[in-house]
Amino acid sequence: MLLALDLPYWAQSLLRVLGGLVAVLLPAGTIVYVFLFKMMSFMQSRLGPMEAGPYGSMQLFAEVGKWLQKEDIMPEKADHSIFRIAPLIVLASTFLLVVVVPFGPDAWFTNFETGVFYALAVSSVSVLGILIAGWSSANKYSLLGGLRAAGQLIAYELPMVLAVVGVVIQAGTMNMQQIVVAQNAGEIFGWNGLGNPYILTQFIGFGVFMIAVQAELTQAPFDMPIAESELVSGYMTEYSGFRFLIFFIAEFATAGVFALIASVLFLGGWGVPFSWFGWHSIGEVSNWMNVVGPLIMFSKMMGLVFLIMWIRFSYPRFREDQLQRFAWKVLIPVSLVNIMLTAVLKVVF
């Protein structure tokens, strides 16, 4: 598969597992260091971590080491088995999500016919983990946080699905790889120097999608479920040490994976406009794109995560009623209109 090597099935599977670990953990680590440690500090006129390694770049390893050493504390009245499973469900949903992202013409984990649909379905599973984490902690703040999270994630899942429908209509396929090809082989009124990244035609969809992603990640201004001034830390209140680390990794890894999916859907994914090198279809794309593609994806992901984090550090929290009203009365109607417009224009052109 990769670089025209003919590997046996077990070796391919091993490679894919390793690749999946890298694709989840590397963005998560980079996001935490670059944005959470450094960018937030600079926005608040301070330096952030500086002691561990050059410019504090080893801080993350120190933090992970600290969390791993901590005692495994569980509330006595908690539902122990479910308390243990909950963070794993959230992390598993992240790993299942990255499986569908293509990183190059041959550098993919699975090439599902219904890739985008799969991504939306799997991302909705993490709600289950958050909900039972809140319940099993036997703490009323946790339960409140879990319920708020469920209400919010359900409300914002819908605009997210509807925003993707516009892209699917325009590309005529749900396969992630085909969506990338459709954008890079496309042309704008006969001019193919830029391909046709869907952010140009689906900018409404892009806006709705990114807002919904912000809410799905429970990043401020949508951080009602973990509102620290009201609920201590929401559904994560009773979690510490290793289990908190899992929630923490899942949060930032999911931010990375959603940014990857958004860059596939709206920014042209791993590809460069095919006309630059005279390619016409995916079969003609050169092998070196399997190496360059992941780098392109990584830089697009960093750009989108920068946007998410910038908004997170800039805006105050929505109230619960504002949050629900915004989803149901603004985002959903807007994305429905976007679907209608896209469908009409698709038929016209």
């Binding site: 539902d79 319940w135 319920l147």
Partner: protein
Amino acid sequence: MLAEALVAQNIAFGIIAAVMIVGAFRVVTSDNVVHAALWLVCVLAGAAAQYLLVYAEFVAITQILVYVGAVMVLFLFGVMLTRARIGSESNLNNKNWALGIPVALALFAAMAIALVGGFKDEYLPGPSKAIRIDTQSISDAIFKPYLLPFWALSFVLLVAVIGAIVLARKD
């Protein structure tokens, strides 16, 4: 030929089916509402895995999206809002639970007869000539002959939604 092609699928089917049966029993025997709901998630996700084994990708993903991601989350949400104690509850079972056994057996018999009778000599093709049912053909199969019933169904849903609002609003 058949044995060679479907060994992996059959083994996976057996394992998932066993998990689903255990899960289904735990749904009705569990003494905690939330545990019962989570076992139900297990059963529904198992059904999705079975769909994947018979190449029905779209149906499998829809099963996850609708049942695990939406229905069960709403279910748990409702249970946790109203009554969800940690630990066991004593009065969860209905007094007439034994009546369920003959009903379940009758349902099982009816479905077994229908399935065995319906697919007598048909087998799935092996992985060498795997069938790929693309989403387009599914939508063609539904929205060409059944467009009108589909619309009618959506009106039923609309009525249910409006009814729920009317019931919930006191003014």
